[in-house]
């Protein structure tokens, strides 16, 4: 069980790693290793960012690279739920042309 990533079951009983708090440059590299390990245990990764309060470019790049790495290993990757701040940040980051990752963009509520 990760100390940084909660793996509590959601209301459907699925286990999606959740990242509460800030996903920033101070946490990104440590989280990447934990999420890789979780992804291998779960045979893929559907992240829960619904309690993530802020994500910076280091966090976005970490998720992007993680998606690439899991894809290369044949494992699935997506972002299943996001908080509103994270959704807005991802939307603006894509609008500015800084990322082009459909798996990091969640449909508008």
């Amino acid at each position: 069980m990760s100390v940084l990533v909660s793996l509590d079951p959601d209301h459907h009983g699925r286990r999606s790693p959740a990242i509460p708090g800030r996903l920033d440059c101070h946490r990104a590299s440590g989280l990447r290793a934990e999420l890789l390990s979780d992804a291998q245990a779960l045979e893929g990764l559907s992240l829960d960012l619904s309690d993530t309060t802020f994500i910076d470019m280091a966090g976005i790049e970490m998720l992007s690279e993680l998606g690439d790495e899991l894809g290369a290993q044949g494992l699935s990757f997506d972002v299943g739920a996001v908080s509103q701040p994270v959704q807005v940040i991802l939307e603006l980051t894509r609008r500015a042309g800084s990322i082009d990752r459909p798996d990091l963009v969640v449909a508008s509520p």
């Binding site: 807005v88 940040i89 603006l92």
Partner: protein, 258 residues
């Protein structure tokens, strides 16, 4: 929080003057500016529907200004100018701001925007003209501040108390809320454009009889700080002496009367 509030703010220009203006001074912030705008937009759109965001670009040589333009947000204004220092950028932004309340925040968002709420409550209750986010106030939650930054903050606070008699323990935190009229009055009289501009603004506020209140905030150290130890300490000390000299020469009394 409602996503529709953000969408409305992003797409529909405000019909008149905003209730709240948020000013971000930015110099070579292409790595940070978009997530910062996103976090502020998400919070403020829900907190206060009538608000604008002003990015005062201080002559960035990277893609900061182009990224802000590329967002095409209806209530974001980008002010471009040549590099003149953080104080000049903040002044430009605040003098362009139309809000009844004006916040300036650093582009690294070291203090999470959610701290705006209690500061607005305090200011609207009539308890202050200026509310200063503080890393030195009781209850502040400071994460990962480097020994250099800690030393600089302490030294600046001690010097400003000794030389200017400012009763503020953290003058340099880049998260300050002003009554809009007070902000425009203060920044139109600002003479220092560099790193120590906060000291002059707080000094002017004190001489004008304004109420300045410190509020404890959360603060996260962000890499890529524009603070450079020796040169900024030197410039800060020089600016402090300029403020002291201006005071002796009666220049601030003239400015306060004007």
């Amino acid at each position: 929080m409602t996503y529709s509030a953000f969408r409305r703010w992003a797409d529909v220009p405000l019909p008149g003057s905003p209730m709240l203006s948020v000013v971000i001074p930015a110099y070579n912030e292409e790595r940070r500016i978009v997530p910062t705008i996103g976090a502020i937009a998400s919070f403020c759109s829900d907190f206060e529907p009538s608000w604008e965001l002003i990015v005062a670009d201080d002559g960035s040589s990277d893609g900061t200004a182009d990224l802000v333009e590329a967002l095409h947000l209806a209530n974001v204004r980008l002010l471009r100018d040549v590099n003149q220092g953080k104080g000049a950028a903040v002044r430009r932004g605040i003098l362009a701001a139309g809000g009844e309340l004006v916040l300036f925040t650093d582009a690294d968002l070291s203090t999470p925007i959610e701290h705006l709420g209690p500061m607005v409550t305090l200011l609207r209750a009539g308890g202050a003209d200026v509310v200063v986010g503080s890393r030195a106030a009781h209850g502040a939650d400071v994460h990962s501040r480097s020994p250099l930054r800690r030393a600089l903050t302490s030294a600046t606070a001690a010097l400003s108390k000794a030389v200017l008699h400012l009763g503020v323990n953290d003058t340099q935190c880049g998260f300050k809320l002003f009554d809009g009229a007070a902000a425009r009055w203060l920044f139109s009289r600002q003479t220092i454009t560099g790193f120590a501009f906060d000291l002059e603004i707080l000094h002017l506020a004190r001489r004008a009889g304004m109420t300045v209140v410190e509020v404890a905030v959360e603060w996260h150290d962000a890499p890529g700080s524009k603070v450079s130890g020796v040169s900024d300490t030197f410039r800060g000390g020089r600016d402090l002496l300029r403020i002291r000299a201006n005071t002796w020469l009666g220049r601030y009394d003239e400015l306060v009367r004007s």
